[in-house]
Amino acid sequence: MRDLARTIRFVFGAAWRVAPGRISIAVVLLVLGSLSGPLVGLALKHLFNDAVRHDVRAATLAGVLTGLLLLAAQTLGHFSHHLYFMLGHRLRLVYDEDLMELTGGATGLEQHERADYADRLELVRQDGHSFYDTLQPLMSTGANVVSLIFISVLLVQVQPLLLLLPLFALPPLFGGKWASAKVEAARVETAEDARLARHLFSLGVDAAAGKELRVFGLQDVLRRRQHALWDGVTRRLLRAQLAGTFLNAVGQLLFALGYVGAVLLVVHDAIAGRRSPGDVVLVVALAGQVNQQVSSIVGTATQLQRLSKAVGRILWLRGLIAELEPAQVPSGNVPARLERGIRLEGVAFAYPGTDTPILSDVTLEIPAGMTVAIVGENGAGKTTLVKLLCRFYEPTEGRILVDGVDLRDLDPVAWRERIAAGFQDFVKYELLMAETVGVGDVPRVTDRAAVAAALDRAHALDLVDQVPDGLEGQLGRSYWDGLELSGGQWQKLALGRAMMREQPLLVVLDEPTAALDAHAEHALFERYAASTRAAATAAGAITLFVSHRFSTVRMADLILVVRDGHVAERGSHEELLALGGTYAELFSLQASAYR
């Protein structure tokens, strides 16, 4: 009940803020519509009594009134629906933008590692499909409640015992609840099979997957399996549905008995002369509606519950993120240029909710202006180091100092404004090509010259000529008929994005060239080396890149070999080769291809 009150406040509060006039009219129309239904019963009662009394004028009038009320009952709700349906769409924007602010505005990524956050966020994302409908369950429940109360009032006036009638609507309610619980349980039970069927089905209708399915001749196998899984799920669902049908029928039967009892009572009163035929008509017409109203209320109750949960999830996310936000006010300023550099002191890190340290006791000094390569096997902690520097996470132990100031004391937004980054799992923004690059520096997203310059620095300017419409071309096909690029082309754009900011203090490149061929990689690094040198002298910027390719790595001033969460080896290329450790071993492995 408290949830319901909270939900009503949340939804109607937003509606009132967005469009007070619309929501008011919608509510008035709806209430009038829901009163009209029961009023039809009242009008009919008079119609019959007047006809029996041969009061022709009154009966005729009652006939006219009945017709008007009937249509009011049938269409006022519709007009109201039009108003709140469109309003619902506006509300969706309000919720969504609120959520975007909430999830994107959070400083770190810690919440992403939490299963409860991830689950709820995923649900909230799915809720979105029905989020424009937030008003609908509340409005229809409200309408049904108004109708039910008014019907009850009218019935009680005929026979006080009829107040019990809504009680008879309880069995179908519980029957329905059990029935849907049974079906839901079957759905959960068959979820894996249903998922697999969906997976196979979507592979089967996908052109890209079609290549492999054809070459390996898997068409029939896939069809058969998909069909068998679907049929299996169907069988189990129908079995549950059958049990549900039985429960529903029993519930409905009990209500029917209550209804018959109600009519019987009034008919007896009428035979005894205590009630008029009009009263019988009223009861016949309205008593049956009690069940409809109750079952509609119950029907929307699940929607209402879902809505309540959705609202609850949003509020929960809001609370969690507020809780995770760093408490302290930034006390340090991000320096205009790096003088000394970045220092890690005894840094240890374990992902939230795990005990496994990814990094432990990392202490190192990166002087300003230096280019640093991080190498190591998968899972050694390379990317984690990058993430800590971007302040996606806070170290569990130790601290990171930027020119002597603890990173925690810097405003994260201001710090990130001085980071240029290209990640391994870069985003394929389906925007105009210029925007895909330009978002690397939002204030200049529409600055075509800046975009072209960044692409040039990323050695990707040739891409502009390769695609129709060049910088103005729409990319991606998931919502718009845009251009699909190859992996290498996407990667070049991601690099261009990383090159957008012209005065970074830290350049982070996490495996930026994995999808490029040797020629492109070489050209890129030659050019990049030239441009970083410029940036490095201007702002003392540190370039940090993660790579598997030793041909690239050896260009760095400092190479860090990360193993099991430690910096196992450090030094220049020559120093590390001389050391004869992991680096030397891996290097000679790769060099063997060229000997």
Binding site: V56, H82, M86, S202, G244, N248, Q252, V413, R416, A593
Partner: protein, 625 residues
């Protein structure tokens, strides 16, 4: 360019409804007949109910006059029990209708999914699936079956559900006509049907005409999902994108909402006003007339008649409403039907084409595969990828194809596997045009790793075994493929070995890393070889492997490819140099051709690329030694 549904999709709706009716038997005759009969009965029960309640009301004055316990009171009670019986039956029937609805829906959709898969697999290649018109039909059918909208099955069940609605409406109008007056019956029916038509028409416009406006929603959804998802979480923070994305989301949403809201007003409000007034006028007139008649001439219109006519008129008018069990379903589900019907119309042609002239490719190639003056342009692309392209691939040897991104390397492989057909020229295998073979038989000659190889949410056994599905149960063969592909260690590290489900979304399942999946894909291609394939295609087979694993893989390269016709595409020289022959592709042409040593000696593009890479290693040799 917006992805607007083509105009042809909107046409011929009555014919489409008939097509739905025609396709109904797929749910099975007993189910279908049962469902229709049930709807018919459900449609007629209200008639029984109003007849018996009217008799009851008509008998009340006499019963009241005779008093409790009299025969007249007994007659009234008799009518009451009849009414009660009809009411009870109606109540019990509703859950049964629901059951049959679910049954019809699931069965129809099951068959429809299989129909769609069959249509999707009908063509030998995948170019057909990428044809814009077909792609659109495919997406329409796929989305409706994947639960994004109402499914074709729901449309079918919804169509059946209309039976009870219209049965009641017509039967009730007949009652009004028979008991009181046919003109009044027609009047009420006309008012009700007009309003009903406006409803239905509104829905049609909403879906067919306003639907395209939703493309802006797709666009706003893109921003929403990007902002709320985890994919872009890092970049959003580093680049500070939240505010920008919010703005884009807002704008894209308004681009949709504004015109949508205006159009909706014209569809859902304006036409409703006159229709509502008309229906209200006819209803009021009819009810007033019969009330007047009953009051003025009780000898002609008895109390029972009055009750009957009024209840029947009200029930007739009920036709003018929203059918929650049918309207959305039939309207939206129609799209799935449309997509399916269109795809079916192409299917037969595809299946014939895929058959070839029936020559058997078993055991081929023995000598060579030749590309003879092949020209190929991707559908919709301005320039050909390959033009008058010639290449001879010697059977039993390995060929590496090298070239910059976009040079056409992967295209060669796709043409070879008949995933696309060249527009000009031909590809022959030992002199036979590969189009003469049944497509499926030829494709089974090939074992392949594509760059975007598949990651089946199935067991390890199936993921490997699907390279030669008929051998998937043969554990020895699967293990052999795994071991040769360097994935034996992976298998042994999994809790349930071969039977481990490779997705954490399933019980006891586990997720693999990119490198691990790559090994599984290699094993799958080798499984195809176990199944008799003799052409091995490796498109960037080590892209996801780390240095150590890559070196390991190519250490085995010669052994793995022995006796096979191998085509390997890679930009890693560690891979390329081990091939018997290397061709360098530039803008769809072979510009260099020879062994690694020959090409390095030639001093062309290959040598340049190789030197670039090698220069970073070779000067270290003294130190390494």
């Amino acid at each position: 360019m917006a992805r607007e549904p083509s105009e042809s999709i909107f046409t011929n709706r009555p014919a489409e409804r008939i097509q739905i009716l025609r396709s109904l038997p797929v749910v099975g005759w007993p189910t279908l007949v049962g469902a229709v009969l049930l709807q018919l009965v459900a449609g007629l029960l209200p008639v029984g109910f109003i007849v018996s309640t009217s008799v009851l009301i008509g008998r009340i004055p006499a019963a009241a006059a005779a008093g409790t316990g009299s025969h007249a009171a007994y007659l009234a009670e008799e009518a009451l029990f009849a009414a009660a019986a009809f009411f009870v039956l109606q109540q019990i029937l509703a859950p049964l209708q629901m059951l049959l609805t679910v049954r019809v829906t699931r069965r129809f959709d099951g068959a429809a999914r299989d129909r769609l898969l069959r249509a999707s697999f009908a063509s030998a290649g995948i170019a057909e699936l990428e044809d814009p018109e077909r792609h659109e039909a495919l997406v329409m059918a796929r989305d409706s079956l994947a639960g994004f909208w109402f499914s074709p099955g729901e449309a079918s069940a919804g169509t059946i559900a209309l039976v009870s609605r219209y049965t009641t409406c017509i039967a009730m109008a007949i009652v009004v006509g028979a008991v009181y007056s046919w003109p009044v019956a027609l009047m009420v029916l006309a008012g009700g049907l007009t309003l009903r038509f406006v409803w239905r028409h509104g829905l049609t416009i909403e879906v067919e005409r306003l639907g395209p406006l939703w493309r802006h929603v797709d666009r706003s959804w893109y921003f929403r999902n990007l902002a709320l998802g985890t994919v872009a979480a890092k970049e959003i923070r580093v680049f500070g994108l939240t505010a920008w994305m919010k703005e884009r989301y807002h704008q894209a949403s308004l681009d949709h909402l504004k015109p949508y809201s205006e159009r909706r007003w014209k569809v859902w409000v304006l036409p409703f006003l006159p229709a509502t007034l008309l229906a209200a006028a006819t209803a009021s007139a009819a009810l007033a007339l019969v009330a007047h008649a009953a009051g003025a001439h009780p000898d002609q219109v008895s109390l029972q008649d009055l009750a009957l006519v009024i209840q029947a008129a009200i029930a007739t008018l009920a036709v003018a409403s929203w059918y929650h069990e049918a309207d959305m379903q039939t309207q939206f589900g129609l799209r799935g039907h449309r997509g399916l019907n269109k795809l079916d119309s192409w299917r037969l042609g595809d299946e014939t084409d895929a058959g070839g002239t029936g020559r058997d490719p078993a055991g081929l190639p023995l000598r060579e595969i030749r590309f003879e003056s092949v020209t190929f342009t991707y559908p919709g692309a301005p320039e050909p990828v390959l033009s008058r392209f010639d290449l001879t691939i010697e059977a039993g040897a390995s060929l590496a194809i090298v070239g910059l991104n976009g040079a056409g390397k992967t295209t060669i492989v796709k043409l070879l596997a008949r995933l696309y057909e060249p527009q000009e020229g031909r590809i022959t295998c030992d002199g036979i045009d590969i189009r003469d073979f049944p497509a499926a038989a030829w494709q089974r000659r090939i074992g392949a790793i594509f760059q975007d190889f598949l990651r089946y949410e199935l067991t390890l056994r199936e993921n490997v075994g699907y390279g030669a599905v008929e051998l998937a149960d043969d554990t020895d063969v699967v293990n052999r493929a795994l071991e040769r592909g360097g994935a034996a260690e992976l298998r042994d590290s999994l809790d349930h070995g071969l039977e481990t489900m490779l997705s954490r979304e399933y019980e006891d399942g586990t997720d693999l890393s990119g490198g691990q999946w790559q090994r599984v894909a290699i094993a799958r291609a080798l499984m195809a070889v176990e199944g008799g394939a003799s052409v091995l295609v490796l498109d960037e087979p080590t892209a996801n492997l780390d240095v150590r694993a890559e070196v390991e893989f190519f250490g085995q390269f010669l052994e793995l490819t022995r006796g096979l016709t191998t085509i390997v595409i890679s930009h890693r020289f560690s891979t390329v140099r081990r091939a018997d022959r290397v061709v360098v592709l530039q803008q769809g042409r072979i510009i260099e051709d020879g062994t690694h040593a020959e090409l390095v000696a030639l001093g062309g593009l290959y040598a340049e690329l190789f030197e670039l890479q090698a220069a970073r290693f070779v000067d270290e040799q003294p130190e390494l030694a």
